[in-house]
């Protein structure tokens, strides 16, 4: 198992994925440096102000780039399954005294661990810069390493299944894009936006149903942001409220994380089942 995980790391490194990551880090880190310097120049006096600024920089960063980082990680790892399934490669892999379950899970875990390590670098360096510049050391932001990895694992299960079914990385990228940027956001705002003009109950039921079974990367991000700013997190139901000025605020729910994990477990179970039965 460890061997396959190690090789997945090697594959990731060989594909120069990390170069993409590092370009991304460099840009983000540079922006951070400028932003924080600017604040310092304008002169923030109290420690409470600094704390507030840092929290808003951190949550602002996540709001803008959580989905992008997630999607980028998915693109860069999407070819792992199709390349494993190539004729001449998969034959040899299966001929080894390893169960198919172990083969597939190692590939999955290899990709997840690779993204986790990348996130430690990305989020860790941003956190370090912000903390050094501001003198405000709060580990809450580091929880986004976990939540990004988690969101990745959930969405990667889709990549694995689509990869197994179609042997294609392009299709899985397209489906991931649709899920992250279209379907999941639409489902999250179904109550506050869509149901204001869709009154049909069975249609509403379908929306609710899809909402509960599909993964919720956006809401995993909301949970992380709430943790960083110390806001309330509900257990079961997230609520979106609009104040008088028209600003929306979200109280996220742990349910989003739990249901996403269940989704991941179900999709991976089916993937393993499918992989164990298939002729190569």
């Amino acid at each position: 198992m460890l061997t396959i995980i190690k090789n997945t790391f090697r594959e990731a490194l060989a594909k120069k994925i990390f170069i993409g990551y590092y370009i991304f880090y460099a840009i983000v880190v540079l922006i951070m440096l400028f932003a924080v310097n600017l604040d310092a120049v304008e002169g923030i006096v109290s420690f409470a102000d600094i704390k507030q600024v840092i929290i808003s920089v951190e949550t602002g960063f996540l709001s803008l780039s959580f989905n992008l980082i997630l999607f980028f990680s998915l693109i860069s790892t999407s070819s792992f399954i199709p390349s494993m399934l190539e004729k001449g490669t998969i034959d040899l892999l299966i001929s080894k005294p390893i169960s198919r379950f172990t083969i597939l899970m190692s590939k999955f875990l290899g990709a997840v661990l690779f993204v986790a390590v990348s996130m430690v670098f990305l989020i860790g360096s941003i956190w370090l810069i912000l903390s050094l510049k501001s003198g405000y050391w709060s580990p809450a932001f580091l929880s986004s390493i976990l939540s990004l990895t988690l969101a990745f694992a959930v969405m990667y299960s889709i990549t694995v299944l689509i990869g197994l079914l179609t042997n294609s990385s392009v299709i899985s990228i397209l489906i991931n894009f649709f899920m992250i940027f279209v379907l999941c956001p639409v489902l999250s705002i179904r109550e506050s936006v869509i149901f204001t003009f869709v009154k049909n109950e069975s249609v509403q039921f379908v929306f609710n149903f899809l909402y509960y079974i599909f993964p919720k990367p956006g809401e995993i991000k909301d949970v992380t942001n709430a943790m960083i700013s110390g806001d309330n997190i509900a257990m079961w139901k997230s609520t979106i409220t609009q104040n008088e000025m028209g600003l929306t605020s979200i109280e996220p729910a742990w349910m989003a994380v739990i249901s996403s994990l269940i989704f991941c477990a179900v999709v991976m179970s089916y993937s393993v089942y499918y992989f164990s039965k298939k002729d190569y």
Partner: protein, 310 residues
């Protein structure tokens, strides 16, 4: 216990969007003993690769079952002491030759220690790849890839090795070396299962062969027996055979083929001796007596032709 054992192993492929079926293998039952080099022959599409894949549980049989070392192949532990060289194998191109061996060695259950390093050195040396060990395999030639694949299949010193077209793309010197390596492995009691089109080679390497055509087993046996199967003896004489002697020979074997200085007979050893007595009595000197053998290639072409016309 047999190293390989199958019972009515069958595979039917169904095309996705039609009802057409391909019988890649029909009720294949056979056994391979320890220490044998078993050759599987057959024209393209005969089902050779399909059989190996089923023996390694890469593809699942439609019917029947297969065992390696007495363990059903559905259990992945049956593959613990098995090496495999797939046809058109493909290693991760970002690895070097040495890393490929280390990766697949570990997947075969070897420990990443000095013993494995020693074994890798040994295999690379054996395949003349030592100077290429640190080169990424995308730069390897076809023959080098094939040798690396062979090295991979033998690395963990398995008791049973499946080779699908092992000498494909390898030059004659390399092929000779591979033959020697296979004999060496056999001498250590290992079993080898080989797929090949190169009949002369199979003839040199294998103890026993099976010929497969369109999924059916049409001939099986020891190489020596198969190639000597035809009981034709040729007697060459120094003096020419005259008309009167010809008639006397025909009296012994009416089907004998008689030429100027040659008599061919399939009538069995006693009649041949009768013919020789006759010739000697006529003061005809005998130069040579041969049992005619057919090459594996002749046999192969004959049986496939026969099977296809039936």
């Amino acid at each position: 216990m047999h190293v390989i054992e199958t019972q009515n192993l069958s595979k039917e492929y169904t095309a996705k969007f039609s009802k057409q079926k391909v019988n890649a293998l029909n009720d294949f039952t056979f056994k391979v003993k320890q220490g044998e080099i078993f050759g599987l022959l057959g024209p393209n599409g005969a089902g050779k690769t399909t059989l190996i894949k089923m023996l390694l549980a890469i593809t699942f049989p439609t019917r029947g079952d297969a065992k390696l070392f007495g363990t059903d192949v559905k259990n992945y532990k049956a593959k613990t002491k098995v090496g495999y060289l797939p046809e058109n194998h493909k290693f991760p191109s970002y690895l070097t030759g040495e890393q490929v061996l280390s990766y697949y060695g570990q997947l075969s259950g070897m420990k990443d220690d000095s013993n494995m390093t020693k074994r890798i050195d040994e295999m690379l040396g054996m395949m003349n790849l030592t100077q290429w060990r640190k080169t990424r395999i995308k730069k390897y030639s076809k023959g080098m890839m094939q040798k690396l694949g062979l090295a991979q299949s033998m690395l963990s010193d398995p008791d049973l090795i499946f080779l699908d077209e092992p000498t494909d793309g390898v030059d004659p010197i390399g092929r000779k070396e591979i033959r020697d390596i296979l004999h060496e492995i056999k001498s250590r009691g290992k079993t080898i299962f080989l797929n090949s089109h190169l009949l002369s080679e199979v003839e040199m390497i294998c103890d026993r062969v099976a010929i497969l055509n369109k999924g059916d087993l049409i001939k099986e046996g020891n190489v020596d027996d198969l190639t000597k199967a035809e009981n034709i003896f040729a007697v060459h004489t120094v003096e020419p055979i005259g008309m009167d002697i010809k008639q006397k020979v025909m009296a012994i074997d009416p089907n004998a083929g008689i030429g100027e200085n040659e008599i061919n007979s399939e009538a069995g050893i006693d009649k041949i001796n009768g013919i020789i007595d006759l010739l000697r009595a006529e003061k005809i000197r005998i130069q040579t007596i041969n049992q005619k053998t057919s090459t594996l290639e002749e046999l192969f072409i004959n049986v496939i032709k026969k099977d296809n016309t039936n």
